[in-house]
Amino acid sequence: MDLRFTDAQPTAAEREAVESVIGPARVDSHQRVRTASNLRIFAKGMQSVADRRHLLLPALEAVQSEIGWVSEGALMHICRELSVPPAEAWGVATFYSLISVDPSPPVVLHVCDDIVCRRVGALELMEGLEANGQTPNTRWLPSPCLGQCDRAPAAYIQRAGEDDQVLVSIDPRTRPIGPDGSVVAANGQQESPAAPQAGQAHLRILRRVGTVNPRSLDSYLAAGGYRALEEAVEMGPAAVVAEVKASNLRGRGGAAFPAWIKWEAVANSPEPVRYLICNADESEPGTFKDRVLMEDDPFSVIEAMTISGYAIGARKGYLYIRGEYPLATRRLRSAIHQARDAGLLGESTRNGVSFDIDLRRGQGAYICGEETALMNSIEGLRGEPRNKPPFPTVSGLFGKPTVINNVETLCNVLDIVADGGSNFASVGTPQSTGPKLFCLSGSVRRPGTYEVEFGATLGDLIELAGGLPEGRRLRAILLGGAAGSFVLPDLLEMPLTFEAASEAGVSLGSGVIMAFDQHTDFGDILARIAAFFRDETCGQCVPCRVGTVRVEEALARIRRDPQPGDLELIEEIDLAMRDASICGLGHTAAIALRSALELGLLE
């Protein structure tokens, strides 16, 4: 393509950062490396252009991470190397909130002000930062939910040239970072146990959390790791798919779609090139269960992906993890390397399986948790969801048949293979099989990730988390996350199954159970939810792009001075967003709000 670039050049450090992910400059890039040969012939073609596009986001990420922002020179360098039109690269870079295209100080603090954090000090913390947080070396920004609701309030630090870091359980009266960017209030990451049930004998998915060393393959092997893969290879791919079918495993990401339907479709596809994607872009406000699995049992994620890839005939898997999970990222990367070194991952493993994993980091975009937006993000496009059909099982990543499952969903595959699908199906209820993780947060004594069998009630879960603190009464629960709905204590007896939730007109979503007591300012919570969806919609389709703005405005009017018709207007907008939006974000953006208004939580 006859692309045009501006004359801006990268610094040596930017060049090096780019090279670290995409390799040395190539003769067929747009750098016009002039050699005796390419002054005479030049071979490029559209295919070689297309083949490198997927490196765009990793290259942007590398510059962001090393330098702290992406300059024009760095952007042009990436574009020349990857043959990406600069306007498109600009469109991609400006899509993600963790990428800055403006000069930035080396330390940027992203302070979560989302539903849970804002109720336990985040607002106070931000007030303090407003007074002294912006220095030549530091900047702070408010952030959507960081997936640390069990250890709120939390902040995520991007630090140029160094590892990112997450601060949790921050004391809001302190300054978390000094003027030079050094961490002042580094509360220990493990202050509260990630999984309060750790070590209990009945656990299935959380069995190894807190008991194995997440940094050690040996520890994982000693705890029975990789036996499921051995068994899977013994059974053969078709039998693995059959067991998953027998297990009736349904997706744990929110949509509750039967996993086997995707697996079978891809396994039977005539197309030889197929992909597996593990969706680890856990960004639904109030959700942190996958983080716990990835941080504390990373090898199980890798093993589960390997089995799934093997079963569906994929040789390549992508693990797409949200950028705000640096610890999980480091542990997974380490796990991938150890597994490769041990011959358990790669082109030909000691089990005869040919499967490798590419870990990709999101860069701050809730929408990339939507499966097709995630695929576009991997491909180096803007994270805009695709219209369906075609579904990913037909035309997914790079246009190939693709299975995409959530972390928790995949981790269940280990037990399904080891114990058999029918054993798995005997747990829970016929339509909601197996164990399930729930994320308890808000007004409970012991927030955290809890595992129960499907069928436990909402009240059971609140009990598991220690009930409400002294003097607090349960006013409402946000079930399923910001895309879920509010329910009142009268649903405490409801079993947490897909079918019971559906009957009650609610959704389990990603397993969020957020408790609110009598002192809650629901107006503030709802305003935050409305703002969240407005911030996080990709902006592609009209109903969602404008609808989320109009909902937020209508809510502001209701909070200030409710007028007749305001509620109906929100209902009308919600209906159009549900009916006409491209993806689930628009379909669910106003549900929590409507439920709260209908339940009278604002009164």
């Binding site: 006859d2 016009r32 002039r34 002054l39 005479r40 012939i41 030049f42 071979a43 073609g45 559209m46």
Partner: protein
């Protein structure tokens, strides 16, 4: 074009010169077609190519012959087609025998592997298009260049079939139409021979007038006739030879020496300024009724959208008025009447009534009668059994280097071309306030710039054997050392044709604009 498997752009930077045609190439490439670009410059078009071959200026026949030999050496020629539909194959095969890949590389500068790749891919393709423009035809041996490409198409049978063919891209909106209508020295409308008594007889009968039985002179011959003193007067319609001729100083001198010049143009061109009489003409494409023919032989209607300014009149109005003044009252026929007369005499336009042109969005000739749909591509008869009409002859062609040799005094090859936003001598595009206009520059490779100590924007002196001009330099990465480039668009600022050579192709009359030997010199620093 959309369905071609292989597209070769040879001596054509269609991306800049034929942008909408290039959309088709992009479409084909997106569908998986392989694109080759043969061009001394790594042009905008070349950036889309699967393989760009940076040939030396004027070595096209060498490359073509080497490609042919490689095809033959590997038995990739289309034997069936050659045997059924062509003549003189043996002679041709013999003529290319010496053109090994090594020889090809030596003469063209293109690595043997690239020549081989083009040969094999083109020959093996089911559907392949070979397109060219002025990079092939603005040479002293233009016709031979074209024949060399035709030979390749015949060799592989890439002619006369859907998705395969030879595509000369016309530089102007009605070059094809001018030829169609007989605006060439030896033809009547419909490419009918002036010197054929039978054909001339038909025209004479229809026109009730006698037509000289000899063919006329083409432009280059006219200037020779001026030089020899036979030609003393000139009626110039819509041409600007005082600026567009190669070796323009010589051309201007000859024009000045004429007894009488009539110029008919929409502008007061430099030629018109030299004229004794000027007829202000309407702009045909937007102020007159008529037809034009595009590169794909598609005849389409033009219509008046504006009233011509002042006393300007349409060309037909002027010509008819002139006839009246000379004592022949032709009246002022409507464009459609003129057209209908023409198609009554030109069989290949016979079926193209205005009504049908309107309904079909244009028709491609030949279109013999009002039921004929026109032809999407030509020469399909060669695939008929037996091939209708005469067989297609191979024509062995010899490579001859450009006339203007590179020597120690003139060591640099200057070639010419178009920019996207400009057109020919700029009389039309000059008033377009283009935000991307480069202006008149000499484009130089980064290597030569540093070798000569020249930087971007610096005025340099460019000297050929015929003249010398100063012009700002522009660093251009599409060029290699020893090759410089200029556009023709800005004669008022940069009179490039003072440099170019009036060596012309005896068969077509085209001058060798594409290959001039020059030297480029840094200007002496101003004194004081």
């Amino acid at each position: 074009m959309d369905d071609a498997e292989v597209v070769i752009l040879w001596g054509s930077n269609a991306r800049a010169a034929h942008p909408i045609f290039f959309h088709r190439i992009i479409r084909a490439v997106r569908r998986g077609a392989t694109l080759f670009c043969v061009d001394p410059r790594r042009s905008e078009s070349s950036e889309w190519a699967d393989l760009w071959l940076g040939i030396d200026v004027g070595s096209d026949i060498a490359l073509s012959n080497a490609v042919a030999r490689e095809i033959l050496a590997n038995g990739l020629e289309n034997r069936e087609f050659i045997e059924r539909a062509t003549l003189h194959f043996g002679e041709y095969a013999q003529s290319v025998e010496e053109w090994t890949l090594e020889r090809g590389e030596e003469v063209t500068g293109v690595p043997a592997a690239a020549i081989r790749s083009l040969a094999h891919t083109y020959a093996k393709a089911d559907r392949a298009q070979l397109c060219w423009t002025l990079g092939i035809t603005e040479h002293h041996n233009a016709t031979d260049n074209v024949l060399a490409l035709i030979n390749l198409a015949l060799l592989c049978g890439h002619v006369g079939r859907y998705g395969s063919g030879l595509v000369p891209l016309r530089g102007q909106n009605n070059v094809q139409g001018g030829g169609d209508m007989g605006a060439i020295p030896n033809k009547f409308p419909g490419f009918q021979d002036v010197e054929s008594d039978e054909i001339r007889g038909r025209f004479e009968a229809a026109w009730k007038a006698s037509v000289p039985p000899r063919k006329g002179l083409h432009l280059t011959q006219m200037f020779e006739a001026m030089e020899e003193g036979h030609l003393r007067g000139l009626y110039v319609i819509g041409e600007n030879p005082a600026e567009s001729e190669a070796d323009v100083n010589r051309a201007r001198g000859l024009l000045e020496g004429l007894d009488f010049i009539v110029a008919q143009d929409i502008f007061l061109t430099r030629t018109a300024q030299m004229a004794d009489v000027v007829f202000p003409a309407a702009a045909d494409w937007c102020e007159a009724e008529g037809t034009v023919t595009s590169s794909e032989r598609r005849v389409q209607r033009v219509r008046p959208a504006l009233r011509p300014p002042g006393e300007a009149r349409t060309d037909s109005h002027i010509i008819c008025s002139l006839a009246t003044a000379m004592g022949h009252d032709w009246g002022l026929p409507a464009a459609e009447e003129v057209w209908d007369e023409m198609r009554s005499l030109s069989p290949m336009h016979g079926g193209m009534s205005y009504r049908r042109l309107e309904e079909n969005g244009g028709l491609q000739w030949p279109c013999y009668d009002e039921d004929h749909p026109g032809e999407l591509f030509l020469h399909s008869r060669l695939w008929a059994d037996p091939p209708g009409g005469p067989l297609a002859p191979f024509t062995p062609v010899e490579w001859v280097p450009p006339v203007d040799r590179l020597t120690e005094d003139y060591p640099v090859r200057l070639t010419t071309g178009r920019h996207l936003d400009s057109y020919n001598t700029g009389v039309q595009s000059g008033s377009l306030k283009s935000p991307i206009r480069i202006g008149g520059t000499i484009d130089i490779s980064p290597e030569d710039c540093s070798e000569w100590g020249v930087s971007e924007g610096e005025e340099v002196r460019v000297t050929s054997r015929r003249g010398s001009i100063t012009v700002p330099a522009r660093v251009d990465e599409s060029l290699r050392p020893g090759l410089v480039f200029m556009s023709l668009h800005f004669p008022e600022e940069v009179d490039i044709n003072q440099l170019t050579i009036e060596a012309w192709d005896p068969k077509s009359g085209t001058a060798e604009f594409k290959a001039t030997a020059v030297r480029v010199e840094k200007m002496p620093a101003p004194v004081g």
